[in-house]
């Protein structure tokens, strides 16, 4: 009975945490955008603009072309729910059990969401959707091993495969060679995973170069709002993971997340988008760093 109550309590705490992250996510994306705008000599939109956008899309009619299957409507929901479930599995800052949230489950629940998005991008049979889907999967194929290696490096370091366990045992100033290399590599993979420059450009209107945005071209209204919201949540989750498990600084997590959000904005401004086929070299570099980190342990 005790254990059931404990489980229930943990579950409620996890859900509360996921919902809190969901509420905060648009603001973090807003902050990244604001940083970029300021660095480009622009005033930029308010950091709350993403909330207004979601509200706007939510109030708009959702157009679905008659040439699509049920999958088209399903995919954004699956993407949203899988991301939310993944958010439940993050190390719980309300406290809770350390054996919850296995890292392998975490990575592949996110992959499930991406799979559905990639498949649905081809559903409407537009040229852009197919291009976006194929590029997303091409990049995912390289990002996934890198993320897994980063996780492995952490597993070796902390001796736990649960995210909470890792976070509990992570000594905040891990300034070993392995720690620093893992930190850099995870940051690179995070940019790729979240469709940021230099891999993808979240702000572009150029259909031909887009990756993630290409897949969303056919979506409108609430479905579009779900996709954007989930993507924003995903960015926040990666920033959290980066702050809690990789960033070797002795600061409160909230500060570390804000700091890494600013870092994403700065890196995006300093760089330009690379050639599509160079992305694998970029990710191979991240992978190599991680291999070195694993060996160094």
């Amino acid at each position: 009975m005790m254990s059931f109550q404990n489980d229930l309590q943990s579950l409620v705490l996890c859900l509360a945490q996921a919902l809190l992250l969901l509420l905060l996510a648009p603001m973090i994306t807003g902050i990244v955008k604001k940083v970029k705008a300021l660095l480009q000599n622009r005033i930029g939109s308010s950091i709350f603009q993403e909330y207004y956008d979601i509200k706007k899309w939510w109030g708009k009619p959702t157009m679905v072309t008659p040439y699509t299957s049920a999958l088209f409507k399903m995919a954004p929901c699956v993407y949203f729910v899988t991301t939310l479930v993944a958010a439940c599995m993050l190390p719980n800052f309300f406290g809770g059990r350390a054996d919850f949230g296995d890292v392998f489950v975490f990575v592949y629940i996110m992959a499930l969401g991406r799979f559905f998005m990639a498949v649905s991008s081809m559903d409407a049979a537009t040229a852009f959707g197919g291009m976006g889907g194929s590029r997303e999967v091409y990049i995912a194929a390289f990002v996934e091993p890198v993320i897994m290696l980063a996780v492995l490096s952490n597993v070796l370091h902390t001796g736990s495969t649960s995210l909470s366990g890792m976070a509990l045992r992570f000594d905040t100033v891990n300034l070993t060679v392995a720690g620093v290399l893992t930190c850099i590599a995870f940051f690179l993979a995070m940019l790729a995973e979240n469709s940021r420059i230099p891999v993808d450009n979240p702000d572009t209107h150029l259909e031909l170069t887009m990756i993630h945005e290409c897949m969303t071209l056919e979506y409108s209204g609430r479905l579009l709002a779900l996709i954007h919201w989930a993507s924003q949540l995903k960015l926040l989750m990666f920033l959290l993971l980066f702050s809690m498990l990789y960033l070797p600084l002795n600061l409160p997590v909230v500060l570390k997340v804000l700091l890494s959000a600013v870092a994403v904005g700065v890196v995006e401004t300093l760089n330009n988008k690379m050639r599509l086929f160079k992305v694998r070299v970029y990710l191979a570099a991240a992978g190599l760093m991680l291999l070195l980190a694993v060996v160094a342990q």
Binding site: A127, P198, D203, T209, N271, N272, R275
Partner: protein
Amino acid sequence: MLVKPENLRGAANICSDGGRRPLAAMFGADETQRGGGLAIYCLFYNAQKRDLDVLKADYPSARPRNYPSLTPLLPAAAWYERELHDMFGFIPEGHPDLRPLVLHESFPEGFHPLRKEVAVDCQCHGHREYEMMTSSGEGLFEVPVGPIHAGIIEPGHFRFSQAGEAMLQLDAKLFFTHRGLEKALEGKTPLEAMTIIERICGACSVANTLSFCQAVEKLSEAKVPYRAWLIRTLALEMERLYNHVGDTGNICAGVGFSPVISMGARMKEYLQQLNELIAGNRFLRGLIIPGGVTMDVEEKQLEEILNVLKEVEGVYADMVHIMWEQANFVNRIRTTGIVRESTAFDLAMVGVGARASGMARDSRKDMGFGIYDEFDFDVVTETTGDVEARIKVRVGEVRESLKIVRQVISKLRRNAEVELAVDLGQLRTLEGSWGISESPRGDNIHWLMLDAEGRIDRSFIRSASYPNWPALTVAVQGDIIPDFPLINKSFELCYACIDR
């Protein structure tokens, strides 16, 4: 030179002299109202004589209207002949691709708007086929883009034939917003025409106006005052500066390189505000008129121009430095979108596109219009013909333009003339005349013929984008489709210039 239509190809072969005198333009004219028939004009650059050679084929009666196509001999004629086919109903025999160019699906067959019997305000509806170039085979697919684009740009439909990410072939369907300006100009006096001429294109308003004014001035004995030419040169170079500076930044938008985009936009704004100071508007309109200029540039303005240019020069140098320091950026632009010199030669490309492919063609030197011979400047060329070369040519031309502007200003300070425009008097009628000037994208050529009452009988406008558009479809072959926006921006071709 006047020839019979059946001899046009032979005559064009002689005129082009193995390509040493490239085809500059080709257009038709309906001269039936003044006792003639239909005519085809071909213009060739003659850099030796610093002149355009005019070749005319005359049809005494309205039919038949066929002639041997020049395209197999001069690939540069391909678009001109398609336009002749649309606008006048000429039939170039042996043309490899006689699809409509200007008149899309919604125009009826047999409708040739530039013929005199068609009224300027006529309404027409029709339906005909317009087939895009496609390809088929295992694993090949097509990507249609436009005519409505995600950005705020003009309409154009692009059809890519793809093998994965690689572009096999690109077909561009343009002319969606053709305005019929050449038709609208007919019956107007040269002065009345100025409002339209200045608004053909925003980016090369000065160049179009200057070409047209020169065509008008050739029909008069009067000589344009020297000070007017100084101010005209100043305006033309200011136009080049604001375009090149803005375009350099804009090319970087193709790769999402934001600091450079912002710097380019900021400097373009400074320069356009300077334009406003000179002419009262940001596009330097209303300044140049047939016979001279309307406004003087005073010492206070000259001082301000020099100050702003000095600042812009510094920021531009920083911006170029940032670009070349960024290895990731250089990696994107090098070997991307190559136009070989032979291609540029065949298509008779002009402007930045031609100079980036190793052709030292610049009408400021070749044609020596106005007073350009007095100034010390170089024609900037590159040989690689890729995006990097086109950026480098622009960077070099900004430097040369600044040089010219400073020379113009020192001459303006020493020049005490008060007369800014001359009365052109009675213009010679029924005589073909042309004007040329170097816009930021290459030379703009205007052809003008006045009828017996001194009103425009035929005005032909060939902006620099016209010969360069077909080169874009060649440049992209073999590159990957995500690089298309970058390649496209490096040419910075104008839709309005061809939708005239």
